[in-house]
Subunit: 207 residues, 2 copies
Amino acid sequence: MKRIADSTVRRLSLYLRFLEEFEEAGLTTVSSEELAARGGTTSAQVRKDLSFFGSFGKRGLGYSVNELTQRMRRILGLDRDWRIIIVGVGKIGAALAQYEGFRQRGFRVVALYDSDPGKVGRQIDGLTVRATDDLAEDNRERPVDIAVIAVPAEAAQRVVDQVIGAGIIGIMSFAPIQLHVPAEVTLNTVNMAMELERLSFALSNRE
Amino acid sequence: MKRIADSTVRRLSLYLRFLEEFEEAGLTTVSSEELAARGGTTSAQVRKDLSFFGSFGKRGLGYSVNELTQRMRRILGLDRDWRIIIVGVGKIGAALAQYEGFRQRGFRVVALYDSDPGKVGRQIDGLTVRATDDLAEDNRERPVDIAVIAVPAEAAQRVVDQVIGAGIIGIMSFAPIQLHVPAEVTLNTVNMAMELERLSFALSNRE
DNA sequence: TTATGTGAACGCATTCACAGCC
DNA sequence: GGCTGTGAATGCGTTCACATAA
């Protein structure tokens, strides 16, 4: 498939949310213009974004809310459940484990891990925290799709190597550090401190 | 000032981290090439990024680690403390309140707010949770720079309006929703569910 | 000689504008 | 007539390549 820009994928996620809102509101048809207005973009942008994946609309009419919602789900890979684990059950990790926004989209947290013996065995949201060293064996028995990394910066690269060694190829990191992974692994990093710094920059540099 | 691309600002944050590492390692000079290698970019990119703000290097030599670190801090607005509040002390909000990564960069959490009467009065990390309705008055007495929004999607726009009404012009949102703010307000949103969706897309669409 | 700083070239994402279809 | 789908034009960020300075 043609390479899709990151910005396009982000917008697709937004479109899906809006479509679900429209669906809930009982609308059956939506135009690129309406979708654009809701998301703060342009109708041409919406049509271009969708055109990378096919022709889903009817000229003169717009898009079927129902059909487009299905299509978006399928395109984003959300027409299935994803088995995810969370490594690191400090404040952030524990919060993510219970985050409803994940479950709603089919991301099912199936296990929690931590390297701290003091945390292993603890119960969080119905799951027992396991030792990070058990990861490889666990994953062999019952593979997972995505590992969410929520450990301190110092431990992050080591944990990521362990996760990859266990055979997991999807990684979502919340560690405030630049991670290195082989090409066959897909990594997505959210650095919350960096996001605040972007805000700091924006606030400092406006006339 | 000339408009700076978002991608540039993100890289500046990275450079600063690397510079601090180099500083800690005792290095006094660094080249654009070394900085690039550490961050997975190119030396031309590093030089171009820096060139938007001035000429900080010496030809044939490179950059003074110390001086460039200072410059980066100032450019990013990190040569000062930022007073921030967190609105919404559910799992995510409480986790952020105690996040060390913020404090380290001069982001000082000075107050916590929640609309749930059951949470108001609770102690978290040495701070007493206050009622969101107190926000306007509190901010009049002792203004803050940034409000971090960590409330559910349904409440987010209302809370943001309240925050803006109180006179706060910097907002960092973790609510999984598209927020609307007037032009004079600077908003930065991190949508964790969307980030997982990007990963889902990437994992689903590779040959 | 070495590494910066920067115009120019390039490539990619966004916007335009209109042909095509309902 | 209305709205989509898409080549063409534009704008913007990245890369190139070299003049410049230590």
